[in-house]
Each structure stands twice: as C-alpha cells, then as structure tokens.
Homo-oligomer: 106 residues x 2
C-alpha cells in the first residue's frame, strides 16, 4: 500500500536538502565553531559572492537551521538550537538503524 510520506520523512528531507551545498555546510560549521558571526566574517572565508552568500543564508533561515539578529549595520547569525537538536535527533534515528550483514553482498 502506498502511503504518503510521514512528517518525519519530510522534515528530514527538508533539513538534509538545506545542508546539501558546500556553502551551506561551511556556514553551519562556522556558526557551530564560532557560535555567532556576521555575513562579512563568512564572506571573507567562503568563496562566493556576497549576494550568493545571502541567498544561502536565507535558505538556511527558511529551513530554520540558523537565525539572525539585526545589530545594525550588521546582522549576527547563529545556529537555531531547537532545529539543530531536531537535526541531530532525526539523523540519529536514521543512524540507529543497523545495517544487517547477511543479505547484502554484491
């Protein structure tokens, strides 16, 4: 029987997709290791035009993975802790499924 996708499948796919680009991985790593930083900080390190960086920041924001606080003229970005906890939970659940040995030879 065909079933619609579960909420968790959709969430996981959404979050994985948001992480599916080197620029966005770099942003996430930077925010995780430095906790908070600004567009400009990231722009100095990540090899992409500023406007492109903005687009990637927006996608991570839309996925809920990061959040920004306006402290004009800059914007401070950081990881959204709730969403990040969800990311860890959902991927953790997937990783907890053990790959059985027996049946999987090529």
């Amino acid at each position: 029987m065909k079933k619609a996708f579960t909420k968790e499948q959709k969430q996981l796919a959404r979050l994985a997709k948001a992480m599916g680009h080197p620029v966005r991985i770099a942003i996430i790593q930077m925010l995780l290791s430095e906790n908070c930083c600004y567009h400009g900080d990231m722009s100095e390190v990540i090899p992409v035009a500023k406007s492109t960086l903005s687009q990637h920041l927006k996608e991570l924001r839309d996925a809920g993975i990061i959040q920004g606080t306006i402290t004009l003229p800059t914007i401070k970005y950081c990881i959204n802790k709730e969403t990040w906890a969800l990311v860890q939970k959902l991927f953790g659940e997937l990783f907890s499924l053990e790959v059985r040995e027996e049946l999987c030879e090529l």
Copy 2:
C-alpha cells in the same frame, strides 16, 4: 582569506543533498530496516511513479549510498556499508561541535 571548500565539506554536502528528498529518505529507511529489497517492493510503498523511483534510486547509487545487484528479472538494492559509515562519520563530526550557549540569544 577565502579558501576553497575542503574535500569533507564537499562530501558532506553531496551526501546531504542525496538525502534531501522524501522519496530518497523513504528508500534509505526501507533499505536500512529491511536490509535489501527490490524496486517493486519500494514501488508498492512509496507514492511515486516507477520511472521516478528509478531516478531516485539512480541518484542514491551515484552518490554511493546504495548499490544494486542484478538478479533478473529483479534488481536487489541495499545500503552501501562503506558510504553509510562515511555518512555517519561526517555527520557525527558536525554534531560533535557543541553549540555554545552564551552568545546566541535573539
């Protein structure tokens, strides 16, 4: 200084991207829980046309996450254990970076 992306950033992005669709999450979950199965088995459960399912299987194959063995007239799919271990390692490294509390209020 702008740096090119590291190999790991590119790998992680590639793998995340491959997981960034509900159909592909469903495939991965099914292969993890049943270890191996056939296109037909998945087609009965996953709400998408067979040709579309094939495309998603191909993408997961191209990313190295799954592999298929031909046992005509069927093809048996299963998780690629090496790649799956890499997925766990790379995401694990990302998750091991703790989100610091202090600086991240909205």
